[in-house]
Symmetry: C2
Subunit: 254 residues, 2 copies
């Protein structure tokens, strides 16, 4: 039982309007093509950029609330305004004495909980920030279907972002958009190796793939696309990233 992760080489800097499916298809072809069961894992930034989800801070007028939070947290009011526009609500906002800039933990309008509502400056042109795609599942489906047509077989797609976590330091990639790849690989109903029912075991397959992609994606190395081969999975046409989000009524930590 073996799984191979390969970073696709040669992905150029992506600009709004680029045909990302064609670029990824060329990269897949250069890497030897696709095989049945392959999954393509993509850092959302190339998707966001291709879709034009880039905001010039000079075009943003901060609201009174953004001005207030920006002062509290020592952050740029324009950035705070973008974060607020991307958010359903702010879960926590704070600035510790040791911090230069504070932190906003937000519930993104897609339901994801992360720092700064996933608004990011790294790998963005100066004076701009990048937001998540408007509908990352639709983005994944669009890319997946275009690549399936080109290669003559279905291909799973996982779009990721890099999140911090409560309780644990460092960041891991998590899934924010899915095509065919199930959010969870439910083992409920299965038994363990000794025949006992696995009542609560539901591996977060989409996040396992996302986290694993970090092992070959290096931000400094322009490798935003990773091909997974050998994963044991069953395509689910109704897969959606929201299926990995804990309903608020089950959540003890917001």
């Amino acid at each position: 039982m073996s799984v191979t992760l390969t970073a696709l080489p040669g992905i150029p800097d992506i600009a709004p309007g680029d045909d990302l499916a064609a670029i990824l298809g060329d990269a897949l072809e250069a890497a030897g093509g696709v095989a049945p069961g392959d999954i393509l894992c993509l850092a959302h930034k190339i998707v966001s950029k291709a879709e034009g989800c880039v905001i010039r801070l000079a075009d943003v007028t901060p609201s009174p609330r953004a001005l207030e939070l920006a002062a509290e947290l020592n952050k740029e009011p324009e950035k705070v305004e973008v974060v607020l526009r991307q958010s359903r609500r702010v879960v926590r906002a704070f600035k510790r004495p040791a911090q230069t800039h504070g932190t906003m933990i937000c519930e993104h309008k897609l339901g994801l909980i992360s720092a700064n509502a996933a608004v990011d400056e790294s790998n963005a042109d100066p004076g701009t920030v990048i937001t998540l795609p408007d509908d990352p599942d639709a983005s994944a489906r669009g890319l997946g279907e275009a690549l399936a047509a080109r290669f003559g077989m279905p291909l799973g797609v996982v779009i990721t972002d890099t999140f911090g976590r409560p309780w644990r330091l460092g960041q891991v990639n998590v899934a924010i958009g899915l095509h065919l790849v199930p959010a969870k690989a439910s083992e409920i109903g299965n038994t363990d190796a000794w025949g006992k029912p696995l009542v609560v075991t539901e591996p977060a397959l989409c996040d396992e793939i996302a986290a694993a992609s970090g092992l070959v994606v290096q931000k400094a190395a322009k490798t935003p696309a990773v091909l997974f081969r050998g994963v044991d999975w069953t395509p689910d046409p109704s897969a959606a990233a929201a299926q990995i989000l804990r309903p608020i009524e089950e959540d003890m930590f917001r």
Copy 2:
């Protein structure tokens, strides 16, 4: 840039006192041996079992606090007692109407925050529960050094447990014991692909490896050991799983 994950076949059921290093060495040899830079990722249960971290519930006398919590949560008092003994404190304890048994989110005495202080019944003999090894870093070091002596080269070791998460459903494996593998692969000081400093990017390397191992480890299939080949990492003799834990003063969610 390619990383390969291979589940080591033929690991038998482990019992207290088993020579796990010898068993893993044989499995590695059967899988073709090791190469420079290899990392071995192990589900903690085989380590816990080999070290005798198995508790017979019939031997446990619940404290008054365990009896009280057990009644509130509809859990076995003996299990709650074991959880309390493994814990520094209980972060949250609750039972929702839809739940048969409640949930305890605990800070384990090693500092880890997880459900039931990582006390587990799956893959345990009936009437017993399995706890984490007393010192998982020492366990990882012991196994890593024995295997390094056998194969004539250093080998990274990551010991994992399966954790739930706030905000997201399903489970992922996280690192609870490390040998040579750094907790974080700091990119602070590096620049992104466009030359901007990556000020907060510290990929949680140990957790990326742990989560990835879930792609080839299946609980029902007795594959608790996964060999990683091709990861870009630098051995750190002072690596310890506690280095991935967020200090309480930086934590907004407990």
